[in-house]
């Protein structure tokens, strides 16, 4: 039914005279739908860390010359690498969507006398910027420009 919370959670610095029972949380606290979404959000840190390590490997291969680069590209065509990159992309999209959803309310409601723009406009701006940057990256990395 319940499991222990942190034993000092919400305890006062000076304990009262009455003996109290330790704080508890519901047993299924971490597996409720909203919490699962949040945990999934936090877990995306793992693919991000691995992508960071892969980026280092890319940089080293680039420095070691064409043979190392060709070997890396060959490795990247392995189904496991492809699967990982698809997973990393899904994680990035998931984090982006959640971040954009929460972004408008996390900002100061007003800067000076100006009223904040409506949430819908902020969302539209964020998605437009995301789409625009993705297109620019695709064009540059695809060799279409410059």
């Amino acid at each position: 039914m319940a499991r222990p919370s942190h034993p000092q959670a919400m305890t006062p610095h000076r304990p009262g005279s009455t003996r109290t029972a330790a704080p508890q949380v519901p047993d299924d606290f971490w597996t409720r739908r909203r919490m699962l979404t949040y945990l999934l959000f936090d877990a995306t840190g793992l693919p991000y860390m691995l992508v960071g390590l892969l980026a280092l490997r890319v940089a080293f291969a680039l420095g070691r010359g064409p043979e190392a680069w060709a070997r890396l590209m060959q490795d990247f065509s392995h189904p496991l690498y492809v699967a990982f990159h698809v997973l990393a992309l899904i994680a990035a999209v998931f984090v982006g969507v959640r971040f954009f959803r929460l972004f408008p309310k996390a900002q100061p409601p007003r800067i000076g006398p100006a009223k904040p723009p409506p949430g819908l406009l902020i969302h539209a701006g964020l998605y437009a910027a995301w789409l625009g940057l993705t297109l620019v990256l695709l064009i540059v990395l695809g060799g279409l420009w410059p």
Binding site: A2, M10, T18, Q24
Partner: protein, 251 residues
């Protein structure tokens, strides 16, 4: 009452009990209650206390979601029991004290830790120098009021603390309601104490413990949106810290 009996539904309430004089740890007791269709969870608890087991302890007062006294975990979710209709639940309803708080007795939690955090954010208007009475009142435009009004609607029911995964793991964390209240005063055009509160926000119970799970705002019965306040406070605490290198603070 007799006319309503046909509509009554029998429910089993699994209620957490704890007697500090007898029990080592909280336990659960079940009560079978014939509930009227319009009852809230609090009505059932009051019925249990009045008619079945007078030793049951729980807090309540206004019965209209204003006083914030009757917060409990209902089926694991922090709820104001006076606002939570039994018609939304099935035959078994679990009622426990608010999560993450020490339990004084049965469904009554210890609030002292909350009050300490609450006071630490200096929840009052701070002015460097009080105006003389003949200088008039501290006026405010509707726009200035709108900047903080939402955060002043908190009724201190503490549901947000019961829902917060950071409170469950980090005992120093100031927590959603206290930060929302401090932020409410930081956004108040009459206040001059933002630098003092931002120091508290950057201190031991730092706003930066918050990982934006947003659970506090999901359970808030008054639509205060403490997660918004906490995350706005993070940004303003950083801006204030950076500003302290440029502008010398008055003490």
């Amino acid at each position: 009452m007799a006319a309503d009996s046909g509509e009554m539904r029998k429910r089993t309430f699994v209620v957490t009990r704890f007697d500090p004089d007898k029990d080592e740890a909280p336990r659960t007791v079940t009560y079978d209650v014939a509930c009227r269709p319009d009852w809230k969870v609090l009505d059932a608890l009051n019925h249990i206390k009045d008619e079945i087991d007078p030793t049951l302890s729980h807090r309540w007062s206004c019965r209209m979601a204003v006083c914030g006294s009757c917060g409990m975990n209902v089926n694991g979710e922090p709820k104001l029991t006076c606002k939570t209709a039994l018609s939304d639940y099935g035959d078994v309803v679990e009622v426990a004290p608010l999560a993450n708080f020490p339990i004084v007795r049965d469904l009554v939690i210890e609030m002292d830790g909350f009050m300490e955090k609450f006071q630490s954010v200096k929840p009052w208007v701070i002015v460097a120098k009080e105006k003389a009475a003949e200088q008039g009142t501290y006026s405010q435009t509707p726009e200035e009021l709108a900047a903080y009004k939402q955060f002043s609607m908190c009724i201190n029911c503490m549901l947000c603390y019961a829902a917060c995964p950071v409170v469950a793991k980090e005992p120093h964390f100031l927590g959603p309601a206290a930060i929302a209240l401090g932020h409410r005063y930081n956004m108040d055009s009459r206040d001059e104490g933002a630098a003092e509160r931002n120091e508290v926000f950057r201190g031991e119970g730092s706003v930066f413990h918050c990982s934006y799970a947003n659970e506090c705002s999901e359970v808030c019965p008054k639509g205060v949106d403490p997660a918004a306040a906490v995350n706005q406070a993070k940004l303003l605490a950083v801006v204030d810290w950076a500003g302290s290198f440029v502008v010398e603070r008055k003490r």
